[in-house]
């Protein structure tokens, strides 16, 4: 049996395998190395950055829900300058592809971030987060209005020579409409999905658990919604999809590939099992080998046939 081919093309970049880690769940790449060697990953997506440094929301920032996690980190990050100065040099040395994740509160924010991050930065791509639900002003707006989404992506695209991945919010009536809009804006790929907006109430204190009241729901609980959106967008829009939302086991990853994701990304799953990426790669490999698939690419969208 010849080995399964894992190499994957995404928006012009070649990835060792179709496995990424999600922005905000894998720091800037150094935190999980004792559990999962970075060279085993197709790439990592870095924590979202904004032009200015942010302390983010007060604690509690996390709440556990049935098979899910609410987070309201609020985009804590060192800001663009500090990122370029202190983090980027280390990121360049990482033994895997690194995708920056950028967030903003205005079109100008995105433009500023995109301008500073070009191919010579050593990054593999830019993921544009137009969907973070935690920030009180802006954020939500770009991610739920097709017109603004298109504009942001077009502006970013005009500023950087890096491939541009548009990360969509699931908190919309029409995910396909959003995907079409960012395609018009020039997106090279799509990340689906960010977190669902949720909240939890502490019945003893009679107050919201999260200091920010609302948070983003991630983890296995949201997987059925994420798979559905990947499925719908795969059918309607001709862009490669990075599928995410609740992937914790190799079966979950295969489910996303079959639904139409070219690449899958592990977020909250890392918290549950810091070796999840390794186990998932092994599982995908065995799945392909047992069924005679020569390449992981053969799985993409197969359940539509």
């Amino acid at each position: 049996m010849s080995p399964v081919d894992f190499t994957t093309q995404l928006a012009g970049i070649t990835l060792r395998n179709p496995l990424l880690t999600c922005s905000g769940t894998y720091g800037f790449g150094e935190e999980y190395t004792a559990y999962c060697p970075l060279e085993s990953l197709g790439g990592i997506t870095l924590k979202g950055i904004t032009p200015l440094p942010r302390l983010g929301n007060p604690v509690p920032r996390l709440a556990e829900t049935p098979a899910g996690l609410l987070n309201a980190v609020g985009l804590e990050n060192p800001g663009l300058d500090e990122f370029v100065k202190s983090y980027l040099p280390k990121v360049r040395m990482l033994p895997t592809a690194a995708i920056a994740n950028i967030s903003g509160f205005s079109l100008e924010d995105y433009v500023q971030l995109a301008r500073a991050l070009q191919k010579d930065s050593g990054l593999a791509a830019l993921e544009v987060n137009i969907s973070c639900p935690n920030v009180k002003h802006g954020g939500m707006h770009f991610g739920t209005d097709p017109q603004s989404a298109q504009e942001v992506i077009a502006a970013v695209k005009a500023e950087t020579d890096l491939p541009v991945i548009a990360k969509l919010s699931p908190n919309v009536t029409d995910i396909v409409g959003m995907a079409r809009a960012v395609q018009l804006g020039g997106a090279d790929a799509l990340s689906l999905i960010n977190t669902l907006l949720g909240m939890q109430i502490d019945i003893h204190r009679q107050r919201p658990v999260l200091a920010n009241t609302f948070g983003g729901l991630s983890g296995p609980a949201i997987k059925p919604v994420a798979v559905r959106m990947v499925w719908q967008v795969f059918q309607a829009v001709d862009l490669p999809i990075i599928g995410m939302g609740g992937i914790t086991t190799w079966q979950d990853a295969v489910e996303f590939l079959l639904a139409g994701a070219t690449v899958v990304s592990i977020g909250t799953g890392n918290f549950v099992n810091p070796q999840a990426p390794l186990e998932i790669l092994k599982g995908i490999n065995d799945y392909c080998a047992q069924r005679g698939f020569a390449s992981v690419r053969d799985l993409v969208g197969l359940a539509h046939n």
């Binding site: 905000g24 769940t25 894998y26 720091g27 935190e31 999980y32 004792a34 559990y35 924590k47 302390l55 983010g56 007060p58 604690v59 509690p60 920032r61 996390l62 709440a63 556990e64 829900t65 049935p66 098979a67 899910g68 996690l69 987070n71 980190v73 804590e76 983890g219 296995p220 609980a221 914790t248 086991t249 909250t268 890392n270 918290f271 549950v272 099992n273 810091p274 070796q275």
Partner: protein
């Protein structure tokens, strides 16, 4: 590291009312662990694939035996996660990440005073052991609800260490009636006069740690505090568990309990914002 720790001992600790448990797990975590560090434990046997509850639970190392490749966790059944954990049987295998975080530091010389309330005592035992092994003088201030709690939570083991112990209980059933800080203040006062070299390590309810820190600052005694926060990743990757500190320049900064802590210098902590 990530291990499948086998349950060697799992038993009630003291009075059932106190809902305390002792869990001893076999596995190599002990080799590199030090007092003040913790593990992130999955509450169900790893052979059960359930995502509810989803997250690991952080529990401090209450015993570290590198000879026997064993760690001891002492915990209170608090909610759903610890309730499920309490059902693990000898021989079950639990997925454990650790040792995590940075532990307490030991002074080179002088006295180490441990000040604690409630189950904050648990991570301090291995600290006392290390300090004694290093020839330091150790003194314990421990406040609890009542006699039953203190006895359940391991008073006799502490007495076995042969160190001076200052107990207090809210109902006066053992030691002094009242808060642990009363006795601490008395002794700090004495030592301030005699000029002995002291370091304080504290772990327990936030209000208590804040009061202890304030006292220590008053008496210019260095104090390390062990903080708690809800955790996602437990390795510094998610920014879920931040505490607010002031850096040297007086600027408010965030640090991560899981990676930068759980032990911090008391004077850095911004109490009303952290935890």
């Amino acid at each position: 590291m990530l291990i499948e720790g086998q349950v060697v001992i799992h038993e009630r600790l003291g009075d059932e009312d106190q809902r305390l448990r002792k869990l001893v797990l076999k596995g190599p975590i002990a080799q590199t662990a030090k007092a003040g560090q913790f593990v992130a434990i999955q509450v169900q046997d790893f052979s059960i694939s359930s995502f509810d509850p989803l997250l690991r639970r952080p529990i401090s190392l209450a015993g570290i035996s590198s000879e026997r490749d064993e760690i001891t966790l002492l915990y209170r059944i608090q909610g759903r996660g610890t309730e499920i954990l309490a059902r693990a049987k000898c021989g079950d295998k639990l997925s454990v990440m650790g040792p995590l975080g940075k532990g307490f530091s030991l002074p080179d010389e002088g006295e180490l005073w441990l000040v604690t309330g409630g189950i904050g005592i648990f991570p301090l035992y291995p600290l006392a052991q290390s300090a004694l092994a290093q020839g330091l003088t150790v003194r314990l201030f421990w406040g609890g609800e009542n006699q039953s709690f203190l006895e359940s939570a391991g008073l006799s083991s502490w007495q076995g260490l042969g160190i001076p112990i200052h107990l207090s209980t809210l109902d006066g059933s053992l030691g002094q009636k009242g808060l642990v800080t009363v006795q601490l203040k008395e002794l700090l006062e004495k030592h301030a006069i005699s000029g002995g070299k002291i370091r304080v390590a504290t772990c327990g309810p936030k209000k208590m740690m804040q009061a202890v820190t304030d006292l220590c600052l008053d008496y210019k005694v260095p104090v390390e505090v062990s903080l708690e926060e809800r955790m996602g990743c437990a390795v510094g990757a998610c920014l879920g568990c931040v505490v607010t500190l002031t850096d040297e320049a007086g600027t408010l900064i965030h640090k991560k309990v899981c990676q930068d802590g759980p032990v911090f210098q008391g004077e850095e902590v911004v109490w009303d914002e952290s935890c």
